[in-house]
């Protein structure tokens, strides 16, 4: 149910910019803001969690788990190079 309203004042050039971005994504200005604002708000809220919850699709999680469980530890060549550079 979309019955809440949010009125904001913004600079004319920002309004134009938003309208253009909406047009480019093939959405109405309203739909564009309904989609992007909650996205951005969620990201900000997420970034302010003391203990972050990173929800992964089961396929990603399982692939990660196989990597953690299924093979011995190995040296990361890129990291080793940068580490030597830092220590020298």
């Amino acid at each position: 149910m979309k019955n809440a309203r949010l009125d904001v004042r913004l600079a004319p050039e920002h309004k134009k910019l938003i309208e253009e971005a909406a047009r480019l994504s093939g959405a109405t200005t309203s739909a564009f803001m309904q989609m992007t604002l909650p996205e951005r708000a969620r990201a900000v809220v997420r970034e302010h969690q003391a203990v972050e919850r990173v929800v992964l699709p089961s396929a990603t999680f399982d692939r990660l788990w196989r990597e953690l469980d299924g093979r011995p530890a190995k040296v990361v060549p890129e990291l080793l190079t940068q580490l030597r550079k830092t220590r020298s």
């Binding site: 970034e47 302010h48 929800v55 699709p57 399982d62 788990w65 953690l68 990291l79 030597r84 830092t86």
Partner: protein, 171 residues
């Protein structure tokens, strides 16, 4: 780990947070508004890079925190791991002041954070090192250290066992 003329230490009251500017408003605001209060509450810990001749001056910073990677309940596929969660250590909000950018201080800060993460993970379980690059440039930066994309979002990771193995190997 971080050779002079800079050194890293926990953020304290004497550091001048207002003077720091990395060019990303989000990161500057975070340092100015949220960190002090939340650090006193033991909710976050921020490390800063300072010049020994200007003890109050912050030239870089990063945060180590805790996270948990959670398996989404989007499918009925059976669980392969003992838990539906993996403990992780995110290295967050790594930033270098504009006055010293492009001189390798980001690299030194990251190495310092990774070294601490590797050490901490020996006593408090954590299987993943995580970073969350703000843009493509940041993602390219982390890729140079071997960080790989998590696929499902913009975060990148390295297995903690590999980070430990690399630091052990370089000793």
């Amino acid at each position: 780990m971080i050779p002079e003329p800079f050194r890293a230490e926990p953020l304290g009251k004497h550091h001048d947070r207002a003077a720091f500017s990395c060019g990303v408003t989000e990161l500057d605001t975070y340092l100015q508004r949220y960190v002090g209060r939340n650090q006193r509450r033991n909710l976050i810990r921020r490390f800063v890079l300072i010049k020994p001749d200007e003890l109050q001056r912050i030239v870089g910073c990063s945060t180590l925190s805790n996270a948990t990677a959670i398996r989404d309940h989007d499918e009925d596929a059976p669980l392969m791991s003992p838990y539906p969660e993996i403990p992780a250590l995110p290295i967050g909000r790594l930033a270098v002041d504009r006055s010293v950018q492009g001189k390798g201080w980001g690299r030194r800060l990251l190495m310092h954070a990774l070294e601490r993460a590797a050490r901490l993970s020996k006593e408090s379980a954590s299987a993943l090192g995580l970073v969350d690059p703000v843009d493509v440039r940041a993602a390219t930066f982390y890729a140079r250290y071997g960080f790989r994309p998590l696929a499902s979002d913009r975060r990148m990771y390295l297995p903690m066992k590999d980070i430990r193995a690399t630091f052990a190997d370089a000793r």
